[in-house]
Subunit: 152 residues, 2 copies
Amino acid sequence: MEKRTGKGMENQLPGLDSQVCFSVYALSRQITQHYRPILDELDITYPQYLTLLVLWEKERQSVNQLGEKLYLDSGTLTPMLKRLEQKGLIKRERSIRDERVVEISLSEKGSQLRHLACAIPQKLLASLNITREELSQLHLIVNKILGQTRQS
Amino acid sequence: MEKRTGKGMENQLPGLDSQVCFSVYALSRQITQHYRPILDELDITYPQYLTLLVLWEKERQSVNQLGEKLYLDSGTLTPMLKRLEQKGLIKRERSIRDERVVEISLSEKGSQLRHLACAIPQKLLASLNITREELSQLHLIVNKILGQTRQS
DNA sequence: AAGATAAATATTGTACGCAATTTAATTTTT
DNA sequence: AAAAATTAAATTGCGTACAATATTTATCTT
């Protein structure tokens, strides 16, 4: 009758969920690998690129605001932002109105980098070798799940 | 006629591809967050859990074999495996046939942990709060893309 | 206004992830 | 068989992630 009870469960293959979670984890790292050679040319890492993307959208933001958009806390951001500052891509300045706040803004060099960066999306797509259709499907389902999991 | 040329492109929103890549990156970290409290009870991390999953499938494997399944190299695995050894979950032994190879096997404690671990998938699913349908869709598209990107 | 609380970053410590190099053992060449 | 090439792990070094704590500044309470 195919009724499975406690005994024997441990011989099952790992569940679909485990597999999917691993796949997402693997894909995320895989994507970073594909970005690497492209971003190497600009001498930045993938998380640094994401940070710049956010800053290109809005020139001046607090560490907190960046963290909310990137889902990263100060423990990760502070050292990364210092590295971006060292590269001369951003400026870090205490807010005058509230001395607790550190405001991040683009340097001239950081703003200019945008011109070079505009070629990245195409290069990455070519590197990943996937269709817009697949990309679109991925986007839909991942965002849907991301939206749900962020709450619970 | 809506023909967009070079000028003005830099004012566009970040492309779909950038967004999707960020979403995958964010989801991957989000999943790890949901695993954390569950795995904390077993005093292991998510990558360590993945490693144990592979070992529960096949009791004894070389570092290389583990790396091929997890897509990790010795630079990541060696220290992680040492930590698993310190926790008493695995054993690390040089192969007699080929002294270059280090064979990883489960300790008694590591084998036993499987019994506790079998509750994890359900707990995680409950925590993520997503349907099997969504999980299934995610699995399909992510694996499809992962398969393609691994080659190119 | 003094003291308590809260908020924003920074710091500390641990664990990946991965490129690059090193070390040791095995194979292949010559 | 000696030298060269290859292979498997380990090591080194850098950059995230993230929990936990500390520090500094602002705000709230009374």
